[in-house]
């Protein structure tokens, strides 16, 4: 075996020897001469006249004498002088950009000292033009010979005589310079790969197996047809050790191992190619860094074992090297339980069970398999696959040690809650109430909620049962992002001793109602989670600005009602069962116009459209056959002077109609927070109705800031104090930035007609107006913003609240 290995290594060493012999001749090379058209103007800096360089250079300003190149460069690269000119122009452009960015003091570049004729003061020495050019080019010269850039001024060059004098006027723009290109000229490039064992054996004098190929050979082996003729000539050197052939369940053949290394070499070559590495160029430290970073990312699994670098040989071949690669010997999925709220991680038997289950089920499905070299794309796909497992709570991590690739997953704790809650509350409508609720979460292990609650007061009693499966939160966005947005099944019983229906003050009703209701919801959201964060941050200019959100609720309700008159003028009781399926569609389009640093203007425009329909039928004991439809649409715009969300204007118009036979408790009720504020809900009822609502709001924060500007604390000064305390954005828990004071004007009308033109027109009906505070975004329900309005509204048409009434309302955006 050893003799075989040694014989295999011989060509490799012969090649290296060739490189060394060639290098002995090539390393010195010769300096290249060039001329630079340098335009400079005399300026006065701290009392000293110096030459300030004009940093605008055209390609014709740099002329390289192609004849002064060493033949070892010009033979393989006849256009090398053009490449050098372009490289110098690139560095000059970087300097010009630095001058433009004005990040330095002083910002300009000046002609270097040329003793004894001209001297640049020490304070400006780090802005010396030729020294800086030399310094920038030298970043890419990592071996001998040095660049040794030397400039020679034109005859007669010396100190300027006056401010504004130019080199052009003195006919001294043609400067000669010399440099040695041998330390960074690249006539070709290669890729070298070593396994960890190969590198160790190479260092220790152990046995190694070198394999020399070209990219063409590798492309043929891997069946890749897309390489150009020039790319096929790129030399690839592979080095491994006999130990790499061993596997726990047998061994690899040399051919199999070489094929695996060829795959890794091809991936490395692609990284080099993506960085636009070309032969017959000049070495660029930035390109090298990019290749190094991307190769590091590609083979990230190998961590500290990985050594990546590049080197320019003495015969001007740039070698990109990767060392420390290992073939995967085995794969493991390890499970860690999620930390509890105290941060403790306690492993249980359940974790062992889950670990065994995951290894059994998912290990064969992983892309990474023993006998392969793992790259980051493979690891990404595998970790993503494991993340989608339901019991995995965090994005898995991975580690690689001693040939074992371990995926580390964190398991979500299986938490079941059962809660019994007693509560008391007060509301203007129902006065004092008490309640008892039993709530269970995740009892069946599907994140479902189960609750039973009883509420009772002197005028109102209610019992409710509900079962819900929450809106799903997919770990990854689907191609068509329609998601299941929840299922609800509820049953309730209620008794209300004072139900308003219409406006007959002498007639009151008691309502006994029982109901079974179910609904299932679906949602389409054009925003991903990242889009939400970026929109809320408002920093990224490239963020998605148009947001569509469509929700659909399909419902089925069974409602028993018993209405009895308790007023002075009795009316016949209204009893009956309503059975109706329903469909509701909501569409929200929102366009975000905010820009980073933007002060005023329009910040956001939203459009909302709602459509709802239900059909009552006589099956399942139903007493009423009817149809009921409701439509609404509106728009809102946020704008401002100091900030684009200081104020808003909002308009919404809605209408509904129902067929003959609609039971009294399903006819439209005018009044309340949903249509005409200032009226009590149900003060007017009708088979059809229409309403519109107009609002104008001003943010509390700009109001407070304006007041502080008008009545500042202490004396007003022309220079603002940078240490002055900024306006607080939160007072007593009230978020000023999201609280708006608004005025509103609502109109509404009920009809008994079915004429569409009339239904859509709310004019000549009742009206309400008032003022309120809108607390925006007090909660997020699903991913919709919930806003709370508290205020005072009055309607001149109200018979129940002639002086107006306190209004409260919770609305989803908007």
């Amino acid at each position: 075996m050893n003799s075989q290995m040694v014989s295999r290594r011989l060509p490799f060493y012969l090649c290296l020897l060739c490189c060394v012999l060639i290098s002995a001749v090539a390393v010195q090379g010769q300096t290249v001469s060039a001329t630079l058209r340098l335009q400079a103007t005399a300026v006065n800096v701290n009392g000293v006249l110096v030459w300030q360089v004009n940093m605008q250079f055209a390609p014709t300003d740099v002329v390289i004498n192609a004849n002064t190149f060493d033949s070892s460069l010009t033979t393989p690269c006849p256009q090398i002088s053009v490449a050098l000119r372009n490289r110098i122009l690139k560095e000059l452009a970087v300097m010009a950009q630095e001058e433009k960015d004005a990040t330095q003091t002083p910002i300009h570049f000046y002609i270097d000292s040329f003793a004894p004729a001209y001297s640049l003061p020490d304070t400006l020495s780090d802005r010396s033009f030729f020294s800086r050019l030399d310094r920038q080019l030298s970043r890419s010269v990592n071996r001998d010979p040095s660049l040794s850039l030397t400039a020679t001024p034109p005859a007669g060059f010396g100190k300027p005589t006056r401010v504004g004098e130019t080199l052009t006027a003195r006919n001294q723009t043609q400067w000669r310079f010399e440099l040695n290109p041998m330390g960074f000229a690249v006539v070709g490039y290669q890729v070298w790969l070593q396994t960890k064992n190969g590198a160790a054996n190479s260092d220790n004098g152990g046995t190694t197996v070198p394999v020399m190929k070209t990219m063409g050979d590798i492309a043929d082996d891997l069946g890749i047809k897309s390489l150009t003729a020039a790319e096929r000539t790129v030399a690839i050197n592979l080095l491994y050790a006999p130990e790499d052939l061993q596997k726990p369940d047998g061994s690899l053949t040399d051919a199999e191992l070489v094929r695996v290394l060829e795959g890794a070499a091809y991936r490395t070559f692609l990284v080099v190619r993506d960085a636009k590495m070309q032969p017959c160029q000049f070495r660029d430290a930035d390109v090298d860094d990019l290749i190094k970073t991307n190769t590091q990312t590609l083979f990230n699994a190998y961590g500290a074992d990985l050594n990546i670098g590049s080197m320019l040989t003495d015969d001007n071949q740039e070698i990109f090297g990767v060392s420390g690669l290992q073939l995967v010997q085995s794969i493991k999925i390890s499970v860690t339980p999620e930390a509890d709220p105290q941060g403790n991680v306690t492993r249980t038997d359940r974790d062992d069970e889950i670990e065994e289950l995951l290894n059994k089920k998912y290990k064969p499905r992983l892309i990474a398999q023993p006998g392969e070299i793992v790259t980051n794309d493979i690891l990404d796909k595998d970790t993503r696959q494991l993340y989608l497992v339901r019991s995995v709570s965090e994005f898995p991590k991975y580690s690689f040690a001693d040939g074992v690739l371990t995926y580390e997953v964190t398991r979500r704790r299986e938490i079941v809650n059962l809660t019994v809650t007693g509560a008391g509350s007060y509301s203007p409508e129902y006065a004092l109430n008490g309640s008892l609720a039993v709530t269970g979460d995740n009892l069946l292990g599907h994140s479902e909620s189960l609750s039973l609650s009883l509420t009772g007061g002197n005028s109102f009693q209610k019992g409710q049962f509900s079962f819900s499966i929450p809106r799903e939160t997919p770990k990854e966005r689907r191609k068509i992002p329609i998601i299941f947005a929840g299922f609800n099944l509820s049953g309730n019983y209620s008794y209300d001793s004072d139900q308003a229906l219409g406006n007959p003050i002498l007639t009151r009703y008691t309502n006994r109602e029982s109901r079974i209701s179910s609904s299932v919801s679906f949602e389409y959201d054009s925003f991903s989670q990242r889009d939400y964060v970026e929109q809320a941050e408002g920093l990224s200019e490239k963020r998605k600005r148009l947001h569509h959100l469509v929700t659909t609720d399909v419902g089925f309700d069974l409602l028993n009602n018993q209405l009895k008159s308790t007023g002075l003028i009795p009316v016949a009781p209204l009893d009956g069962r309503v059975v109706y399926p329903s469909l509701r569609v909501n569409y929200l389009a929102s366009y975000d116009l905010r820009r980073a640093g933007m002060r005023g203007g329009i910040g956001e425009i939203d459009f909302l459209f709602n459509a709802e329909g239900e059909k009552g039928f006589r099956g399942i004991g139903g007493d009423f056959s009817y149809k009921r439809y409701e439509l609404s649409g509106g728009a809102q715009m946020f704008f401002g002077i100091a900030a684009p969300t200081d104020m808003f204007l909002r308009y919404q118009r809605g209408a509904g109609t129902s067929s003959n036979g609609t039971p009294l408790f399903r006819i439209f009720r005018l009044g309340g927070p949903l249509n005409v504020r200032g009226l009590e809900e149900g003060e007017f009822v009708g088979n059809s109705y229409a309403y519109d609502r107009s609002e104008f709001g001003v943010g509390l924060l700009p109001l407070v800031r304006t007041i502080r500007n008008i009545f500042p604390r202490g004396k007003k000064t022309s220079n603002p104090n940078p240490n002055e305390e900024p306006t607080p954005t939160n007072i007593g828990g009230l978020d000023l930035a999201n609280t708006f004071v608004k005025i509103f004007y609502d109109r509404g009308r009920v009809f008994e007609t079915k004429a569409l033109g009339e239904i859509l027109n709310p004019a000549h009906g009742v009206k309400g107006y008032g003022i309120g505070a809108e607390l925006r975004g007090i909660a997020f329900i699903a991913n919709k913003r919930a806003n709370l309005t508290i205020g005072y509204g009055r309607s001149p048409n109200s018979l129940l609240h002639r002086r107006g009434a306190v209004i409260t309302g919770l609305s989803l955006d908007f």
Binding site: Q97, F114, A115, A117, S125, D126, S128, S131, D134, S138, N142, D144, S146, L147, S148, L149, T152, W192, D289, N307, I308, G309, S310, G321, V322, S323, R350, Y387, F395, R413, E414, V416, N417, L418, T419, V420, G422, G424, Q529, R530, V533, A536, E537, G538, L539, A596, G597, A643, T645, T729, N730, G733, D735, N738, R776, G777, A779, F780, N783, R785
Partner: protein, 426 residues
């Protein structure tokens, strides 16, 4: 005859730049400063008519044009210093200890085959950052850099395609006026190969002497101030840390397992372990950017028991990863490009008093408000909080107007959890 004149017992002997020794304008011997296997001292050895003469000690210096000047001291020159003689040539360093001055022809400016070797030890002056050679036998000679402290640069030196170490470059040049009156400026790229290191509170460059394994490494010390920055280690020429000189490539990453910082210095990636010793702060202007600066005092303990105290000031920016995780990325500019890497600091979101912050753990104490920064926003922080609540599954405190009592039973992995009752938040 043009050259360095020696008064030898009343006879004038001139050491010419061409290597000849002239007596009465006639070449009668040859001189050199370097002889194979000979002593490495700063003496001229010469012969007259093939007869070896006593060595002549020389005092070397460099003039403002970095040309080599030589004087024969009084003790060897009949009681009075010789007139200084300026050699035309260029400066080279043959290893980290000596300077070789290559002579050029006065008429053409072409390099001759003759050198003058200055023996001694090299260092950088703590104030001027010029290259100084402490001459063997006494005295110093100082090479002036081309552009002040900017003449020094920390670069990479390739060893193999897989490994690199560090290169310290000192850029100077010699300006010679030739016989025809023209000037010839010759670049002197003085390079030292080795690695950067910290000795006590001093930054040093440990340079390996090329080609001689018997020679110890030469340590070049830097007396200025240094601090850890995102790009590596910034070296300042002055004690106050205001005059930036050069940056040494490196990386700093929080090691959560060991609760300290892993510091990698230079292209040779010399590794240190730094502990936070105080003055932690996070500077972030609330506004339209995700940028922040992490600052702290660091202490690095070396294996010999010594310590290095330094300041850390890392420019960073927080970023959302593909998995919607918040990561803190070191950030710096290099040649107009923004370079980033993960600082690997840990943290957690805290939503308190209407403000969303991210508390960072980058010392060995639990994170708290002192080590946090507020998430940037341009419009509406609450929107961001809500958005993050969705994205990151952050549970917010809810506001209840109700009074409640509650009995809660919790099963974790099928086992009923026992615990003391806890009052509910109002």
């Amino acid at each position: 005859m043009n050259g360095l004149s020696l008064n030898f017992q009343g006879e004038t002997r001139v050491f010419g730049p061409d290597g000849n020794v002239f007596v009465n304008d006639a070449a009668q011997g040859a001189w050199s400063t370097q002889q194979a296997g000979g002593p490495k001292d700063n003496q001229i050895r010469y012969d007259i008519g093939g007869q070896a003469q006593p060595p002549v000690p020389i005092k070397y210096s460099f003039n403002p044009q970095n040309q080599l000047q030589a004087i024969i001291p009084a003790a060897a020159n009949g009681g009075a210093d010789s007139a200084p003689f300026t050699f035309l040539g260029s400066i080279q360093v043959d290893d980290a200890q000596d300077i070789v001055y290559q002579l050029i022809a006065a008429d053409t400016g072409a390099a001759t085959q003759r050198n003058v070797t200055l023996y001694g030890g090299l260092r950088f002056d703590s104030k001027t950052h010029n290259l100084v050679i402490d001459l063997t036998g006494g005295g110093t000679a100082e090479v002036t850099g081309d552009s002040g402290v900017a003449s020094l640069d920390a670069l990479k030196n390739d060893i193999t395609p897989f490994k690199s170490n560090d290169l310290l470059r000192f850029k100077a040049s010699t300006t010679n006026t030739l016989a025809d009156g023209t000037t010839k400026k010759i670049a002197a790229d003085l390079k030292f190969v080795g690695n950067w290191d910290l000795k006590g509170n001093q930054l040093v460059f440990v340079s390996q002497v090329k080609g001689d394994v018997t020679k110890p490494a030469v340590t070049l010390g830097f007396a200025g101030k240094f601090k850890a920055v995102s790009a590596g280690l910034a070296y300042y020429a002055d004690e106050q840390g205001t005059q930036f000189a050069f940056n040494i490539n490196g990386q700093h990453q929080w090691n959560s397992g060991k609760a300290n910082w892993d510091v990698f210095l230079g292209y040779s990636k010399k590794q240190f372990t730094a502990k936070v010793s105080g003055n932690l702060s996070i500077n972030k202007q609330l506004g339209d950017q995700r940028n922040l600066t992490l600052s702290a005092d660091w202490t690095i303990e070396h294996t010999d028991g010594s310590q290095t105290n330094m300041q850390m000031e890392l420019s960073a920016a927080y970023r959302w990863s593909q998995n919607n995780m918040l990561t803190i990325q070191a950030q710096f500019s290099k040649q107009g490009q923004t370079i980033t890497y993960d600082l690997k600091v840990e943290g957690k979101f805290v939503f308190k008093s209407g403000t969303l912050t991210f508390q960072i753990k980058y010392n060995n104490q639990d994170p708290d408000n002192k080590f946090s920064f507020q998430i940037a926003f341009t419009a509406n922080p609450t929107n961001l909080i809500k958005a993050l609540s969705i994205v990151l599954d952050v549970t917010e405190n809810s506001v209840n107007i109700n009074f409640q009592f509650e009995m809660r039973m919790t099963w974790i992995d099928g086992k009923l959890q026992k615990g003391d009752p806890k009052p509910l938040a109002a």
